[in-house]
Point group: C2
Chain length 182, copies 2
């Protein structure tokens, strides 16, 4: 099923709950299908979450550019999205227009562990609780797959953000470690 | 191709290099196939590495028991192995007998990141450089797939071991963080 088909068919089905705030909406389960879309709204525009993988890679690159990330070959980004366990996107929808405003993905063994990568919220939409809403959406999806250990590597300036969401750094002295080819 | 077939066909082809130490042997590439087997030897027994996934789960459980890990449902272990990007095992081979003495696996997006999990060496074979040999084998395999960022979460007592292999903890203040369902 293509992105837009999923999008609109699912969006229509939840337009009755337009007054629900996105936090409340994302906490509620909208559907069990991995392609299901959660939705929330304000008076002006709705915020919609999706696990659809059929993203416009140029739009994603634009989002990553906006937060100053180094560009990566789109061929590799495509491969990474294909082989991620979960791909989550956040959209601002006004009428029939939609804008990609957030993204996150997770690798996993589908059984015990998931690791969240590439969490990004467009600067225009930061400090509004949307990063938290996106992460809640990601955690809800991972929990629904019975993943018992969710990990990530946090840059120093977002450690407190993740801590506020219940992530612990170095629990019992466990250290995140990196190795780069040389 | 079944495990034993891979095993013996590959083992035969490298029995000429029996005097090579395992460190030297694992540093050299024996084959490009994901099922290729690297081998090394001492006077008494050979140490063999494999990426074959068709492991006896009870033998793996026995290995994990030996280092005191909590038991996990074999159904989930099976699923995790199936969905890992890399599964590496280390064997002691004497004549036609083989014993599983080490294991490690990695999740990955097949493009940028890999995360190594469940690294274990049987206590009888620790402090002989075999953990290092196993990790070298894992890193060689990941590097051959053009993975540029290899990560892991190290328990406190093995942080120095991984550091000695070139892993860095908290580079530029990046923190490994964990979230558990509640």
């Amino acid at each position: 099923m293509g992105f837009w088909k999923t999008w609109f068919s699912t969006s229509e089905s939840v337009t009755t709950s337009k007054t629900t705030s996105f936090e409340e909406q994302t906490a509620a389960s909208v559907g069990d299908s991995p392609n299901s879309v959660s939705e929330a709204s304000s008076k002006e525009a709705r915020i919609v979450f999706s696990t659809e993988r059929d993203l416009d890679l140029y739009e994603l690159e634009e989002l990553c550019d906006a937060v100053g990330w180094s560009r990566r070959p789109l061929r590799k980004v495509k491969k990474a999205i294909e082989h991620s366990f979960l791909v989550a996107s956040m959209w601002q929808v006004r009428g029939n227009q939609r804008r990609l405003i957030g993204f996150a993905r997770a690798t996993s063994d589908h059984a015990f562990n998931a690791t969240i990568w590439d969490v990004v919220v467009h600067p225009d939409f930061q400090s509004k609780g949307l990063g938290k809403a996106l992460m809640k959406y990601v955690l809800k999806k991972l929990r629904s797959e019975e993943i018992s250990n969710v990990t990530l590597f946090a840059d120093p300036h977002v450690v407190d953000f993740y801590r506020s969401m219940g992530f612990m750094s170095d629990p019992e002295g466990i250290k995140g470690m990196f190795w780069y080819p040389h």
